[in-house]
Symmetry: C2
Subunit: 311 residues, 2 copies
C-alpha cells in the first residue's frame, strides 16, 4: 500500500500493541526510520534482540525528536506522565496518538501538555490477545479489526486522514467517535466482559466445595471460555478500571440488575423466562459471525489440542 | 480398540451429543447394530439422511428392545418421561445411561422407573459446542474430554467397568463421582459460566446508550468470548437451570458477592486490590493449558476469520 508514509515514527511502549505496530510498520514499509522507546531497559533490550526497529532510545523525550508520528502504547494511567516528558521535544506538525482503552481520561491527561504545534489525536485499536510484552506482538493483530479515533474538536482534518490512512495500512477499519461515547461503548463490549471474566475466575479460585484441580480438569465445559480474558495484562486492566470508572460502574450495575432478575427466575422455576432469554442471545452471536468478527467453527479450533497419540 | 463392544446399542435423542455418539460408535465399530430413536419425526428422518445408524424407530419403547446399552441424550427435564416410556421393554442385564448435565435430578427422575434387572448408571460427558441437532455432531467430540459416571450405590462393578470402557473407546477419560458433588462442580465450571454469558449478552442487547450494531462491530474486544456459550441450546439450558437450582443459586450468590466487592474496589479506586485479583486469575489459565484442556494460541485461531481479500 502506502510506502514510506512517515519519515520517522516513534513508538513509546513496546508491549503487545507497540510490538505488533513495529512488526507491521516494518512489513509494510510505513516509516523511513522506526524509533523504539520504553522505560524498562530490559524490555528495550528485548525489542532490540527481536530487531523490532531501527533505533532504541530509553529516554522518551529524546526518542520523539524529529518524529512525524508518535504512538504511545502504555497503560492508560501512564499517559499523562509520558505526555509531560515528550511535550518539549515534539516536532512541530507531528501527529501524536495513543492506543489506550479509555479515551476521555487519556484526553484529560495528555491534552494539557500538548503544544499547539502538534496534532494530538487519541486512538484505540480494538485488537489484542491475552498475551503481553514485546514477544507477544504479531503483524496481523489489527487485520480486519476496528480502530476508533477520538480527535478533539478543531483537529486538522488532513492529520486525521493521515492517521486513518496509517491504521488502514495496518489492516484496520476506521471509526471516529466522541471520547465519552467511546468509553461507554467500550465499557460494554470490552471492560465489562473482562471484569466479569476476572471475577468468575476469582470466584472459582476461592471455592472450597469444589477443588481447584476439579475446576481445571473440567474447565472445557464452559469455564475455560472466560479464562482467556482473565489472563490479560493486570496493569493495563487495573488502569482501565481506574480510568473509565463511571461508564464501567454504570454497565456493572445494569449487569447486576439483570443477573438478579435471572437469579429470581431460576429460584422460582420460571422456565419460560429462562427460555426466552436463552433464545434471544443466540441471535447476537449469529450477527457477530455475519459481521466477520468471529468464525463459526465450534470450539474455536480447540480440537487441535488433542494429543497426537490419542487420535 | 474394542470391536463390537455391544451387540445392540440404542440411542434415544440424536442431537449434538447423540449424533456424535452415533458417529463414533460407527467409526470404532462399538455395536453390532445401532438403533436410533427420537420423538420428532423430522429429526429422525434427518438422522436417517445422515446415515447415522442401522435402524430408526420413533417409539422409544420399541427402540430399546433387546438393546445391551441404552444411551439417553435428551434435555434433563425429559429424563423422567423417557424412563417411564422405556421401562417395560428394557432387556434384562442391559446398561441404561444418560448424558445429562445434572445428575441428582436425573437420578431422582429415572431411578423409580428402572427395573431391578437393568444396570442404571447416570453419566455426563463434559463435551459440547454451541451447536445443536443431528448435523452438529462429530466423532471427535469426546476426545480427551472427561466423562463423569455417577453410579448409585450397589451398582454392579462389571457394568460400571463396561460403560467406562465404552466411553474410553469414544476417546474420553473417566471419573466417578457422587451425584450431588457432580452437580456442585458442574454448577461452578459449566452452569455458572453459561448463565453469566447469557446474562451479559442479554444486558448488551437491552442497552440504549450503546446500539446493537456497535456491540456487534466492536465485539472482538472481549464481548465475543461470551457469545459462544450464550448461543447454546435454550431448551437444554432452561432444563439445567430448573434441575440444578440449589447448586446454581449457591454459585450465583458467591459470584455476586465477589462482584460487589470488585465493584466497590473500582468505585473507591483501590488499584492494589484490582491488580491482585487480575494477577491471581492468570495462573488459573496457565494450569488449564498445562492440563491439556485448552490450547495456548492467542485468539483461538480466530485470525483465520480474516477475509481472504485483505491478507
Amino acid at each position: 500500500m502506502s510506502e514510506m508514509m512517515f519519515d520517522r515514527i516513534t513508538l513509546i511502549g513496546i508491549g503487545l500493541i507497540g510490538s505488533s505496530l513495529a512488526r507491521i510498520i516494518r512489513r509494510e514499509s510505513l516509516a523511513g526510520e522506526l524509533v523504539i522507546s520504553t522505560r524498562r531497559q530490559e524490555t528495550l533490550t528485548r525489542a532490540e534482540e527481536l530487531d523490532l526497529g531501527d533505533r532504541y532510545v530509553a529516554d522518551a523525550a529524546e526518542a520523539v525528536k524529529d518524529a512525524d508520528l508518535v504512538i504511545i502504547s502504555v497503560p492508560v494511567g501512564s499517559s499523562g506522565s509520558v505526555a509531560e516528558r515528550i511535550a518539549g521535544t515534539l516536532k512541530p506538525g507531528a501527529i501524536v496518538t495513543d492506543v489506550g482503552s479509555t479515551k476521555a481520561s487519556v484526553l484529560a491527561q495528555m491534552q494539557p501538555h500538548m503544544p499547539a504545534t502538534v496534532h494530538f489525536i487519541p486512538g484505540h485499536p480494538l485488537a489484542g490477545t491475552e498475551k503481553s510484552g514485546p514477544d507477544a506482538g504479531f503483524a496481523d493483530l489489527f487485520q480486519n479489526r476496528w480502530c476508533i479515533l477520538t480527535p478533539p474538536e478543531g483537529t486538522d482534518a488532513q492529520a486525521i486522514e493521515r492517521l486513518g490512512a496509517f491504521w488502514r495500512a495496518c489492516g484496520s477499519n476506521i471509526d471516529t467517535m466522541d471520547p465519552l461515547h467511546h468509553d461507554m461503548v467500550l465499557a460494554m463490549v470490552s471492560h465489562l466482559p473482562h471484569i466479569i471474566a476476572y471475577n468468575i475466575v476469582g470466584t472459582a479460585d476461592d471455592l472450597q466445595t469444589v477443588t481447584k484441580s476439579e475446576v481445571i480438569k473440567y474447565s472445557a465445559s464452559g469455564f475455560r471460555d472466560f479464562t482467556r480474558l482473565a489472563a490479560s495484562d493486570p496493569t493495563m486492566w487495573r488502569d482501565v478500571c481506574l480510568h473509565n470508572k463511571d461508564a464501567i460502574l454504570e454497565m456493572l450495575s445494569r449487569f447486576s440488575e439483570d443477573l438478579a432478575s435471572l437469579q429470581r427466575a431460576i429460584r422460582w422455576g420460571d422456565g419460560d423466562k429462562l427460555f426466552d432469554l436463552f433464545t434471544r442471545t443466540r441471535d447476537v452471536r449469529r450477527s457477530i459471525i455475519e459481521a466477520g468478527q468471529e468464525i463459526d467453527t465450534p470450539d474455536f479450533g480447540r480440537s487441535a489440542a488433542k494429543p497426537a497419540d490419542r487420535r
